[in-house]
């Protein structure tokens, strides 16, 4: 399973990617939104996990862009911005799941599994 993780905080990025690798996934990482968008085009991952507050392009923009493409790659939004309006906006744009920080890496792993099983 090819998963793209976009998150600008290096330790978080490392933690998430280690956790997912433990589950046997193939993980690609980036710390900014622009690179994430180009990696999506280039590698077409099976799943995207993205933060909202990132340099160049926000996670919400990534969701919006991905969901306007033909191949609707599943997206999990992972953000400290857990306000209701942000969550609703993320789902409105087509996000498949929303996890608010502070989050549990184990829970993330479960949600990934569930999403992939669909």
């Amino acid at each position: 399973m090819k998963i793209l993780v976009a998150e600008d905080e290096p330790i978080m990025l490392k933690t998430i990617s280690l956790r997912l690798k433990k589950d046997g996934h193939d993980v690609m990482t980036t710390d900014n939104g622009r690179e994430a968008l180009s990696m999506i085009d280039e590698h077409s991952p099976d799943l995207i996990i993205t933060d909202i507050m990132m340099p160049y392009a926000s996670g919400l923009e990534i969701v919006g862009t991905v969901k306007q493409q033909e191949k609707k790659i599943p997206v999990i939004v992972l953000s400290a911005m857990g306000q209701e309006n942000v969550v609703l906006e993320a789902f409105n744009l087509g996000a498949d799941d929303f996890i608010a920080k502070p989050f549990s890496p184990n829970e993330l792993s479960m949600r990934v599994k569930r999403l992939m099983a669909r």
Partner: protein, 481 residues
Amino acid sequence: MSVWQVLYDLFTYGIFVYSVAILCFYIFIGLYSIGETRKYIRKSTFSNYNILASSEHAPSLSILAPAYNEGATIIENVRSLLNIYYNNFEVIIINDGSKDDSLQKLVAEYDLVQVPYFTEQALKTKPIRGVYKSNNPVYKKLVVVDKVNGGKADALNVGINVARNQYVVCIDVDCILEQDAMLKLIKPFLETPDKRVIATGGVVRIANSCEVEDGKIVRVHLPKQFLPRMQTLEYIRAFLLGRMAWSRMDGLLLISGAFGAFDREIVIKAGGYDTKTVGEDMELVVRMRRYMIDNKIPYSLAYIPDPLCWTEAPVTYKILGRQRNRWTRGTIETLRQHRRMFFNRKYGVLGWVSYPYWFFFELLAPLIEFVGFIAFLVFAFLGMMDWKFFAALLLFIYAFAAVFSVFAILMEVMTYNQYKKRREIASLMLTALLEPIFFHPFTVWSAVKGNIDLLRKKKSWGEMSRQGFATKKNAVVLNNG
């Protein structure tokens, strides 16, 4: 003693006292800013700004960006504004009757359609032609207002009318913001419990020669060109020493028009931007402060020393001259309009320190310097010069100027350290030594021209609005003090 002798004595003593006062003030500013800077740096080691981004209860804000013929860069600038770190905000682009295709470009790129929109007419402005919003939910925070041309102040007033939120952030559309800029700019509004914070202002830094990608500064460099480098030094001095000290005294008269946040309600009550002056940013702050004092409401202003906003500085003498000329006129107009504050006890620090400082050391300094220079020529021509003493005096002043600039560089290095290469710091030091000789006379001359223009064009202020403000970028008055 002849009359001439008396006049002559008055002249020399007057100038001497004036110079001593100005030197003392500079020393005071330099030393007084240290404590404030240190405190700020220390507290930011454990401040968590993210609460503001993640709280449901964070105040709402409207970012106002007036645009006049900015078609070349507007798409990218809007994108970077929309990607700012904040939750509860809207971006209002005010198209001030641009003659280019700015509006068409925005409509195409962001999928905009005209919508019915209620705007309070709290401030009187030129008419709005239409309000546009995006069909694409990704851009739902964007509002574009198309209006009849009326100049920057008028465009900002329209923005203030249209804004739905508690705070308005006024920025130049071509500024490059750090992504956490809004978090830092808004925090002081919430941090001063027993006073109403009416405005907060940020630092403006010079972006020439910096590496920019997709509307974001990637790497900071010292400008390679001569004039921008001189201005970099000026900005460091003004923002790191001057503003910091003024903010500590609670005597700030200016929040740069390129980047500042205001309490919308107070802006409206104070009457909004004045469309008749070229110094609308300074004038508004002074008027808001007067409003608060006149109505006896406890208030304060905050200044954030972090480099949050980057802008291109003029590269040619012609444009720089025009900019300084305009700043001079703006200062004079503002001070004239608010002359009641001059040594007025009611206005406290403003009346007794800020206003007199601006009057004597910002407004009069170039004129006095200029008169001094003329007098020097006359005396030299008449053979009345004591050259040895003159040389010593010149050396003294020059060395003092160098100390002040070098001290500012020291503060920059010890705080934000934007220019990390040793070569860049060396170059900045050299700039400090060259500035009094090559750059300063030019700024004096521009200021003198500003005075002359103001006297000459007194009656034809109406033309202001038609000029637009394409060249009014980074309208920050740089007060060293």
